[in-house]
Symmetry: C2
């Protein structure tokens, strides 16, 4: 089944907003086993929207149309689709009263044009939505839907995502005759290159390719590491979950040592969870990462269970005076260990982490840009490592942070 | 002149890469006064690329085609364009020897398929590029270019940007008969809503709309504030720069107090510059921002001229023990001032900054999510403010950071 995406909005063409919606939808379609061959952006112009939608309906089985469902006169997606359906737009009283109620509950007068969002083409059905927002539309095109279907969803990402995941993709799979369930699980890895990972998994991928279900895909995700996505199809939810579990177990001996998390678990979430489980508190001392490590940890909801705080020791005086680093070179493992132990003591934490290195643009202490020393200090002693990281200032800081968090994660696992 | 953008690559449709290139090109075209009505993404498939390019050439005057110029067999953009030109591909010896030299200089053997990047359709001209990368192509379509032109540029953003800014946009403006020069300047503002800014500038925009040159546009940029873009056309570079300067001067009495920077100057760059000019050093104490403030400051190249470091005082013990904050509630202006003064003294800096507040998800100390206290301490004393910020945990942290940096900026300007 061929599905294409049309994103509507002049602001997309002008580059005022990057169209991340189409990419996200493309990912969902691929994971659901649906073809997606074209994605088009078009402005808020009736003739051009008409032409783009007509072409999309002609060459694909279904079209997901994002944006242009708002209350202003620029928002003409529903008029354009109604025209293609040869249907008139009528006010849906249920939707209208919900919109009125939303304004009343906020004590605000409702501008009349908000009722445009309650207009529904005759023959279309509604996609359920969160309270107070405009519904999406499922619009059959041609006699009895003979020419396919257009799904109209809002451009606001969280509203769009809820509708596409909850309604559009399941409806597409039903139409495509896929009676079963399809699901993915992502294993998140750190510490190995894409070619290294491909080599480790080559035999398994060949085996799976022959059977065709489940399948494996790699997704390079920059400083978030490499993801291995398992996708399985089965008659029902229980069976598909079992298949995903079985494949994950089969991959464990091959790549288990580099898998740090599953699905939405990023490195800092995993580390905060591992510390909380063990009842350990954390403090960090940062030089080249300059607060980025602390900021990532604090971004985890519930970080306060384990995180005491940190010291950004950017100037050498701060390293020496506050953290007790010996005078002398600071891009060394010794300095990193002294920082990690210093901050652990200073802030009264069980574990101390430290980063020191050369983020660039110029080399320092005779060491090239990208040289980074990382340390973990705990009641059992300290470990340190030196890495040489690629990229610009920003990437070096990001890679340093995730590399150090992964070192802590491995240390915690080893110590049980 | 109508220009459209075609982005080629299956990875774009699968959502493995977000197509930021098209957005960026759209912004450049708009700034250059060129129409851009469609942007299409298509995979690495000959028939579909052929159809998309044919349609683009038919309905637009020029097409910018991104991606698919690499060395692998998936990269078929140049074959597709050569076919549309009715031209054969021939090896360009200059390009080929440059590619060979690049591999030699790195001591690596050149895989033969890299020479695909030196294949040029007869009749196309080259877009100059950085050493060692593949050139872009300017390809006239139809007899003598009667059907328009396709520009082929790489998908790698920095290579693409150099070619589009340096060659493609100037060539398009020449073809569109625009003999003059067009340039934009962005004034970056913080502290006023879009509707407030629109009101302040309403009269000026009306005046400019009548004359049509220069023009003003607003670009909402989230936590980076609101941008006001001045675009001017003039016969030559000197005249256009003079026009931009004159318009900037005309806007100064209207919005000067909220303009913090120009073009690429973000808030932290401006603040680091202002501190360096005055020979002042900086330290920061962070609670809810958790290192994000320090990280943004450290991201400025040359931050080490002014930045001594910071303390992330996430746990109350750290606020009290290390920064000398009195025991008691910590989401108060008094606590913020104590933190700012504490870190200033602790790290030996001229200026101390502090953030404390409720990032959520739950309220704290009886104060709602989004309540944030900010302070600036200097040898002349301290100032503090309480703000109520919208959004989720991440946005509250980001807004806190830029609001505090702006407070410091204003303080520095006032004290001369």
């Amino acid at each position: 089944m061929d599905v294409e995406v049309v994103a509507i909005g002049t602001e997309l063409l002008l580059g005022q907003i990057v169209d991340t919606n189409s990419s996200w939808i493309g990912e969902q379609l691929a994971a659901a086993g649906l073809n997606s061959f074209y994605q088009t952006k078009v402005g808020d112009n009736p003739e051009r929207i008409r032409a783009v939608l007509r072409q999309a309906v002609d060459r694909s089985d279904a079209v997901i149309c994002c944006g242009g469902l708002g209350p202003t006169h620029d928002d003409i997606t529903r008029e354009m689709i109604a025209e293609m359906m040869g249907a008139s737009l009528v006010l849906d009283e249920t939707v209208a009263s919900r919109i009125r109620a939303m304004f009343e509950s906020r004590g605000r007068a409702m501008p009349e044009n908000n009722l445009r969002q309650a207009m529904v083409p005759v023959g279309a059905s509604l996609i359920p939505q969160q309270p107070g927002t405009a519904p999406g539309l499922i619009c059959p095109i041609g006699d009895g839907g003979a020419d396919g279907v257009i799904y109209a969803v809002p451009g606001v990402p969280y509203e769009m995502k809820e509708m596409v995941s909850g309604t559009v993709v399941p409806d597409l799979r039903r139409r495509s005759g896929e009676a079963g369930t399809i699901k993915s699980r992502v294993l998140r890895t750190w510490g190995m290159s894409e070619s290294g990972l491909a080599e480790l998994l080559a035999d398994r991928i060949s085996e799976l390719d022959e059977a065709g279900n489940p399948t494996l895909a790699f997704l390079a995700s920059g400083v978030e590491g490499l993801k291995v996505r398992i996708t399985a199809k089965a008659p029902d939810e229980a069976a598909v979950v079992a298949m995903l579990g079985a494949e994950q177990a089969a991959l464990e001996p091959l790549i288990g040592s580099i898998v740090f998390g599953v699905d939405d678990q990023n490195m800092e979430t995993v580390v905060v969870g591992a510390l909380a489980e063990r009842g350990l508190s954390l403090a960090v001392a940062e030089s080249l990462t300059g607060g980025y490590l602390a900021a990532r940890i604090c971004a985890v909801p519930g970080a306060s269970r384990v995180f005491r705080g940190g010291v950004v020791a950017y100037h050498s005086d701060v390293k020496v005076g506050l953290l007790g680093v010996p005078e002398g070179p600071v891009v060394t493992e010794e300095a990193a260990v002294a920082m990690a132990e210093g901050v652990r003591t200073l802030l009264g934490a069980d574990i101390g982490l430290a980063t020191t290195g050369v983020a660039g643009p110029a080399e320092a202490e005779g060491k090239p840009v990208g040289t980074v020393c990382l340390a973990v200090a705990s009641p059992d002693g300290a470990i340190a490592t030196t890495v040489r990281l690629p990229g610009d200032r920003e990437r070096i800081r990001q890679f340093s942070t995730i590399t150090l968090l992964d070192l802590l994660r491995r240390t915690l696992i080893q110590s049980g």
